[in-house]
Each structure stands twice: as structure tokens, then as C-alpha cells.
Amino acid sequence: MNESITAAPAAGTATTDGARAHARAQAGAVVEHMPTLPASVYSDAPSGVDPSALVWAERVAGGGYTHRVVRRGTTVRLTDVDGDACAHLLVYRAGEPWERLNVADTVKVQWNAYLGVGQLLLSDQGRVLASILTDTGGHHDTLCGTSSRMRNEHRYGSGQAQGPSPAGRELFVLAAAKHGLGPADIQPGISFFKGVRVEPDTGDLTWVGAAPTPSHIELRAELDLLVLIANTAHPVDPRPEWSCSTLEILAWPGNPTPPDRWPATASPEAARAFANNAEDLAARGPGAREAS
């Protein structure tokens, strides 16, 4: 996690002048896991993604976390770069975090426990927070949430955020705090890039792990969102050693889904969820609708 490239101080740090010079000499360093600012200079944008349009470009190490507020219509692309990432997500309505992802409603309303293209992340207010536009892997999870410190201490001997096997909940506590939210705001979330299936007769959870090849998903924000992301091992990952690799996050602006276009047209439940979005935004007035 610590990727410091700080050299031994040349001029010494015994004085404020020396310490300042030493601090400033560190600028411009590039490490594997960091945000790129501005995002538009990110050099590894995949084909089909215009780098100049990027508003978020970041690589998060296994065991790391990040968070961002994104505008309605933004596409957020998560990539499992090396095939062993696990992106745990919590999503809130920006500025109104009492409206947030409701995993139970997400699976119940859409009549399916497994996430895939065209499915929606639903809020507890009957609205669409985000839609899944692209999914090249298909191994995701809505059932197991993220790991707890107790769970990781049990599994790996450690679960603290600064330790070698950070629990997702510990990371979410930190990410949430950056937005004024506390532990009571952390609810069950979803995870991408590691799959779990339910045995129909017994209800037992079966680990299916990562997709065969490194994959990515694209989410479109259908409302202004606060997104918290923790990249750490899935709680039922059966491997004895904690393992999690790089997550790449890219985002670019766009338009939310119009009510007459897929995936708003994918099911009657989706149509009503998007209708609820439109109704809410219409009453808020033109400022809330200008993105469409």
C-alpha cells in the first residue's frame, strides 16, 4: 500500500527551508496506484474512451478505497486490470444521502439476484441511482456485502484499514466520513468482479470467483451520486491468503437514460423507476433537469 519513492533528503530537513524543499521535490512522482490530475491526461484510456473527456481517472490498489461525487449522466467504468480486483460499492444520492442504494429492493424489484447488463441499482425511494450499461465478466455479487474487521481477523488475522488485509467495512467507514457520513450510514452494498451463486435447493453460497479474463463494467449515474468504492477481497473468497489486485476507475460525462430508451424500456419495473426519477426531477425545476 505504501508506494513512497521519497529519496533521502539531499539538503537535510533540519530547517523549515530544507523540509519545504524536500517536500516540494517529491511532486510529480508517478506510482502505480494514484489519481491522475487532470484526468484528461490519463495515458492508459482504453480504445473508445476519449481521454480528453475524462473527469475521473484513478488506480486503486488492492486494500485501497476511493470516493467521488459524480453528476447525473456520468459513465463510471470500473476495470479489473489484473484479474483479481473486487470493487465493493456503496451509492448515495449526492447531497441527500438518506436516499441510497437498497440492495434488497434492487434484487426483489428486478426479480433477480445476479447483476448484469441492463439492470439497475435502485434506491430505497423507488428511483434509479445507476444503470449497468456494459459488463464483460458477469461475476458479481449482491448478497454478501463487504468484509468486516471481525471476519478478516478470523480469516487472515487482521482487518484494520492500515493492515495487510483490510476489511471493506473499515475502508467504507473512512470513505463515508469524508462526506460527513458515519457508520450508521453504511448499509449492505454490492461488489463487482467476484461472483457468488446460490444453490437453488439448499440456499448454500457457491464461490465462482473472478471472470475468466480481466473484465470491466460501466455504470451510468441516473441521478447525481456519491460513490464509495473499496477494493478488497470478497468476504467468501475461499483462498487462505488475502488477495486483491488493481482496480482502475474512469469516468466521463454524458446524458442520463431518456425514459423511452433502453434500459428504461427493459421491464415494466424499470420503466416505473425511471418515471419516478423524471417525476422527482421535474418538480425540482429546470436546474435539476438541465443535464438531460
Binding site: 429492493d105 434484487v107 424489484v109 439476484a113 430505497d124 456485502g145 468486516s148 446460490v198 419495473e269
Partner: protein, 201 residues
């Protein structure tokens, strides 16, 4: 057993109370196939509350039945199911709400009473608010998951008079909504009363 509380919760109504560490909570499905939506909080710190994911992960199965340890979001055991006369219960389907009813059934259901209303009203008596509501337990509700991932609330497998009993590991604040839903089979399309018995340690 010394009985601390023995109440009948009317159809469509909420209930809340403390189950003391070592004590028991028995829930009796008086009319049969009556979903009982339920949340638990550590009484000494209600920011720590029932977690469906933690419960599933530690037991490796999505259904709740005898032996299931109901855990908090830190992983702490809150209660254990010590007797279950039905066989399995749900913790995937969450609570019905006025808002989700509009998605599931249409906007004509927007003003029907719902479990989230019960949770909010009853939780407010303990200082709990909307952010304190998380994925809950649905005792006596039948939610099969098929190989495709298809899941849904189908006809129940309970019957009149069947019960389940929990034993608490901590002092636990219990929130219950006797589910008022009439648009799916979770209450047999006819919400009925349930009986709650809290036993002393």
C-alpha cells in the same frame, strides 16, 4: 421461563422492545404465512445493527433456520435461532415500502401502508431514523432463488400456530413490522396477527 412480554401484534402493526442477553424471543405465526419483518440493534449502540450479508457469509447460506446466528454489521453474534418449526426464512427480500410498491405493482399502490412505515414509526420511539433501516429479516416469508438468479416472494410454507424462537447474545433492540403487504403472497393476501413472547434469561 419467566415471561417478560406476551403480546399479540395486530395485523399491519409495528412492535418494538428489548430482548435481554440470554433471553428469548418467540414469534408465533397465528394465522399462517404471515411475514414478520424484523430488525435488530445492539441496545447499547444502535449504530451496530443486524446485517444480512454478515449473517449469510458466516453461515454460507442464504436461508435462516435453526442454528442460524444472526450477526451485526461488525460480525458480532446478536441472536441465534434455537427453534424453527417452519424450515426456512428470508433475509434477501427486504421490507416493502410505499416507494418500492410503485415499481413492483404500479402507482396505484403508492398510498398503501408498508413495512418501512412501521419501521420508521416504531424506530422513531428509540431515536432511530431512516438511515438506520437496512436489509431486514422476513420471518415466515418464502423467497426461493433459482439457478438463473431469479428470485421472488412465492406462496409460504408456514401454517397457523407454527413458531420460531431466538436466543439473544446481547441486549438487543428489536423492531418488528407485522407486514401489511396485500399485493403478493407473503401474507397469503390477508395480513393476520402474530404473537410475541419475550422470555427472561
Amino acid at each position: 421461563m419467566t415471561v417478560l412480554t406476551d403480546v399479540v401484534v395486530e395485523a399491519r402493526a409495528p412492535w418494538s422492545g428489548i430482548v435481554p442477553a440470554g433471553g428469548t424471543l418467540q414469534i408465533v405465526d397465528l394465522g399462517g404465512n404471515q411475514a414478520v419483518d424484523c430488525l435488530f440493534y445492539l441496545a447499547s449502540d444502535t449504530a451496530e445493527r443486524y446485517s444480512a450479508p454478515e449473517t449469510l457469509v458466516w453461515q454460507g447460506s442464504v436461508y435462516l433456520t435453526t442454528g442460524t446466528v444472526l450477526r451485526s454489521d461488525t460480525g458480532r453474534p446478536l441472536l441465534t435461532v434455537v427453534e424453527d418449526q417452519v424450515g426456512r426464512h428470508d433475509t434477501l427480500g427486504g421490507a416493502c415500502s410505499k416507494e418500492s410498491n410503485t415499481l413492483r405493482y404500479g402507482h396505484h399502490t403508492r398510498h398503501q401502508h408498508a413495512c418501512v412505515e412501521n419501521f420508521l414509526a416504531e424506530g422513531a420511539r428509540w431515536g432511530l431514523g431512516k438511515r438506520d433501516l437496512v436489509s431486514n429479516i422476513n420471518w415466515y416469508m418464502n423467497v426461493p432463488v433459482e439457478a438463473s438468479g431469479a428470485l421472488g416472494i412465492v406462496d409460504g410454507i408456514s401454517a397457523p400456530g407454527l413458531s420460531l424462537t431466538l436466543r439473544a447474545h446481547e441486549d438487543v433492540l428489536t423492531l418488528i413490522s407485522n407486514c401489511p403487504q396485500v399485493n403478493n403472497p407473503c401474507n397469503g393476501f390477508d395480513p393476520t396477527p402474530v404473537r410475541l413472547v419475550v422470555g427472561a434469561p
